[in-house]
Amino acid sequence: MDFVQNFPCFSVILCLFAGILSSGLKDKAAMRVNTCLLGIVTLLSGATLLYTLQTGQSFVYVMGKFPAPWGNEIRAGVLEALTALFFCVIMLLSLLGGRHKLLEEVESGKTYLYYVLTDLLLSSLLALVYTNDMFTAYVFVEINTISACGLIMIRQNGRTIEAAVRYMIMSLLGSGLLLLGLCMLYDLTGHLLMSNMKESVARLAATGQYEIPLIVAIVLISVGICIKSALFPFHAWLPDAYGYSTVSSAAILSSLVSKGYIFLLIKIIYRVIGFDIYGDTRIIDVLFAFGLMGMIFGSLSAIKENDVRRMIAYSSVAQIGYIYMGFGMGTEAGMTASVFHILSHAATKSLLFIAAIGLTDVSGGSRKFIELTGAGYRNKWAGAAFTVGSLSMVGMPLFSGFISKLLFAQAAVQNHVKMLPALIVLGVSTILNAIYFMKTVIRIYTPVGYSAYPSITFVKMRVYAVTLVAFILLNVILGISSQPVVDMIRQGLAMFS
């Protein structure tokens, strides 16, 4: 067995260790530990990705001396490694970009706890990505939920704590349903390991035994994860949570946490239930419908919004709608498009949040559009970054958003029944995006003769600017040479089934 195969396990364990140790460190030290950790884990994931690409097949890693189905095991393929790598990079950039706000907004002496939370969050994300065992998935989903709640309320004012409560309530409903569905599935299959579960589910579906409980279990699991990842009707908690928490948290939550759940759902669809059986239960049509509704209503609420960050938050409701619409297509192409959109949206949305904070900083900390006038001149880097992000969201060519819309359309035209609604809603929501993002961009570039607020120089925000540039590069790379990424995704999905 090659040594590289240890890397997934190492990266999860390292994150846990770093989190545990950071809880005994001072703020600065915890920050350094966290940064190093993210660097190392990025390298490990990259190595895993290369390895899987070379061998061209996924590998299974037994956690302990007992083989599955008796012991735990984790599994790494191209898609897992790619996602893990991407998550690490995004998290690193988001933390760097929000660092200066963190020091302001979190009361001193508790910053180290923030890094503890992020370490454990990363570990849970990686575990969700790599796990091959449903119950491990459940445990780490809980870690994910709690640490996300911590990220929301670590900047302590009434809004955030209320948002945290709402978030907890919704996601506890979600995990309750998830757990119940999990137990039912266990009761029907007698396994907790994904691959064995899949065999048994296939057998049950073939024999038609326990048909109703099987469907109900699938529905429970799907609904639970939809609730946790804020699909349209369950998005009530989202705007406050993203809009008022500290900026790194907002970036991480919107681009990683919800995406982690969605990735878990993908994994369940492929590795536990089986794509065809999942397609046969009409639930994908429900997902499709809710996705479409989310695309429209999210954008509408974003247009109504008078506060930049809440606007961005609503737009991510719409984007999650895109992803579920991709699921709803029920085709490989749709799934590929969704996975690519997970990546591109992660890159874009965190960029938008980080840029927005730069803009509001030079506008006296107010997030209302009135104050933002001309902010693009006062903080050039943030302005440019925000413009790039908006263009990518609107689906301008050369940026990642365009490619994902292209893939969605490609998937849509292959599905005769859902082609028209999908394409029409795609067009409409694109135009709605254009309305509110372009409104904002024009806004921040509206010249004001005299501004109350000083413009910020490069020297003051070196890290920040570098982060923004990195984000922009990521976006453009995804937008211009998307082909290798898409190929990897296809390969990875093929490995799943």
């Binding site: 050369l398 490619i403 292209l406 067009g427 372009m438 409104k439 024009i442 010249p447």
Partner: protein
């Protein structure tokens, strides 16, 4: 072959450099010299590209596996590139004098150069995706020209321009998806790609021509309609024309000259590309799409002229006239026979030169006298005769009085629509066959009605005009020379049309 890339990216790079340069401590003279250097360099490069690598195609990179970004120079590209080059040079040198009074010159020249590069890219684009890509970039980069003097109206106009263009572009994209599904390639090929496609089985984008015409003709027609409407937005076609009269007046005069002479022509180019290089006239001829298209264009021609007729502000009036004139071109393209299309393409050139002249003259007037409304301009001809003579000649051309370029193009348009024998005309045939020329004539009269009063009042202010305060104030040569050059060109176009018409006829007949 790198000449293509250079002619596209050199002006862009120059513009970016200008934008990045720090605002302060720039000597204006040095700035201007740098800009003019950029102009000339681009001019040389473009001409070199047009002569040296004609009919060469070059793939830059692949957006996705099936979507290369590639460039290819063909006749249509040459036509539009020449127009772009001439108008941009003239307007550019004109703006040296005009922009003296405006703030933020650097930003203006920067974006002006970038737009120049983007337009070259549009002319040289080798497939639909490349075209769409630069079409979007054109919208973004030309918007700063519109909202240059960040006044409230300017920002509103820019926002409106952006919104309309984006909506149009996405409508077009919606259509492109379907084309992409149904055709093996998106590369521009004379006569359309559909006949080589294999229509719509889900698995792969390829099957047999019969299938293309078979199962999803209806959906392809919808796609064509979407593309036409979407790109028609840029060309100010009726349902979505409202941005044009808003955007032109607020922009600086040379910018609006470039806008209505060239940038809106990008919409026309898009329509040409989609209809004659992607769908192919045979597919659309006689379909409901063609009928709707003809109706819209005629409607726009008439309505534009009417609006211009009752518009007091000079630049707005010119903008409305642009709306109507562009629809002349679109009408020619919609008729889909050789003569009419030739007329349309000729009118692209003629209208380009003429409208540039008119806007530059308006700019010169504003810049010297500061008057914008038509009724304020009595006796303007006495004050700046040379400019007003150019205006007069140009407006005669736009009306379509020989021997100017406008006459030739309109002649071809009218004869084309008369000799048109397409099934569509067979259907509601007689109507369109005589309706077309009639509308053209009526709107020509209207054109005379809204352009000539300025000349008349300008040269014959009437008895009560006090010649005492009259002083000659010709604008600086920076302004007059470009105007004269463009006027002369528009006249030459009318005097020796054959050079062009034969060539255009030649390649148009290959499209059919």
């Amino acid at each position: 072959m790198y000449l293509i890339l250079l002619s596209i990216f050199v002006p862009m790079a120059a513009g970016l450099c200008l934008l990045i340069l720090p605002e302060k401590n720039i000597v204006r003279a040095r700035l201007l010299s740098a800009v003019s250097m950029a102009y000339l360099l681009t001019a040389v490069l473009v001409t070199a590209a047009l002569t040296r690598c004609y009919d060469v195609s070059y793939t830059l990179f692949h957006l996705t596996a099936s979507l290369p970004v590639c460039f290819h120079i063909d006749e249509t590209g040459v036509l539009f590139a020449v127009l772009t080059l001439i108008v941009f040079l003239c307007a550019g040198f004109f703006s040296f004098a005009y922009m003296k009074h405006e703030k933020k010159e650097k930003r203006y020249y920067g974006f002006y150069l970038i737009v120049f590069g983007v337009l070259n890219a549009l002319c040289f684009a080798g497939n639909l995706i490349t075209f769409y890509l630069f079409f979007e970039i054109l919208t973004l980069t030309s918007m700063p020209l519109v909202l240059h003097n960040g006044s409230r109206e300017a920002i509103m106009a820019g926002l409106k321009y952006l919104f309309y263009s984006l909506c149009g572009a996405y409508m077009a994209l919606f259509g492109i998806y379907f084309i992409w599904k149904n055709s093996s390639t998106l590369a521009f090929t004379a006569g359309g790609v559909l006949h080589m496609t294999t229509g719509g089985n889900i698995s792969g984008p390829n099957s047999l021509p019969g299938a293309a015409a078979g199962g999803n003709t209806a959906i392809l027609l919808i796609a064509a309609c979407a593309c036409l409407l979407g790109f028609g937005v840029k060309a100010g076609m009726f349902p979505m024309h409202a941005w044009l009269p808003a955007a032109h007046p607020v922009a600086p005069a040379p910018a609006s000259a470039a806008l209505s002479a060239v940038i809106v022509k990008a919409g026309v180019l898009a329509v040409v590309r989609v209809v004659y290089y992607i769908f192919g006239p045979d597919f659309l001829r006689g379909s409901w799409v063609q009928t709707a298209w003809l109706t819209l264009t005629l409607l726009t021609v008439f309505m534009g002229s009417m609006l211009a007729y009752r518009e007091p502000v000079l630049k707005k009036r010119l903008a409305y006239s642009t709306v109507s004139q562009l629809s002349y071109i679109l009408f020619g393209l919609a008729v889909m026979n050789v003569t009419a299309v030739t007329g349309g393409l000729l009118h692209v050139l003629a209208h380009g030169f003429i409208k540039a002249v008119l806007f530059l003259v308006a700019g010169a007037i504003i810049c010297t006298t500061g008057r914008t409304r038509v009724e304020e301009l009595r006796g303007i001809g006495k004050e700046m005769p040379l400019t007003m003579w150019c205006y007069t000649i140009a407006s005669l051309g736009l009306i379509g009085i020989p021997p100017t370029g406008g006459f030739i193009s309109k002649w071809y348009l009218a004869t084309g629509s008369l000799q048109s024998n397409t099934p569509a005309f067979a259907g509601i045939g007689p109507v369109f066959r005589w309706l077309g020329p009639v509308v053209l004539l009526v709107s020509a009269l209207l054109t005379a009605g809204y352009l000539l009063p300025l000349t008349i009042h300008g040269f014959l202010p009437g008895a009560d005009y006090d010649y005492a305060h009259l002083q000659k104030r010709e604008p600086s040569p920076w302004m007059t020379v470009p105007i004269v050059i463009l006027t002369v060109l528009s006249v030459l176009l009318g005097l020796f049309p054959n050079l062009l018409t034969d060539r255009i006829m030649g390649f148009v007949s290959t499209l059919m």
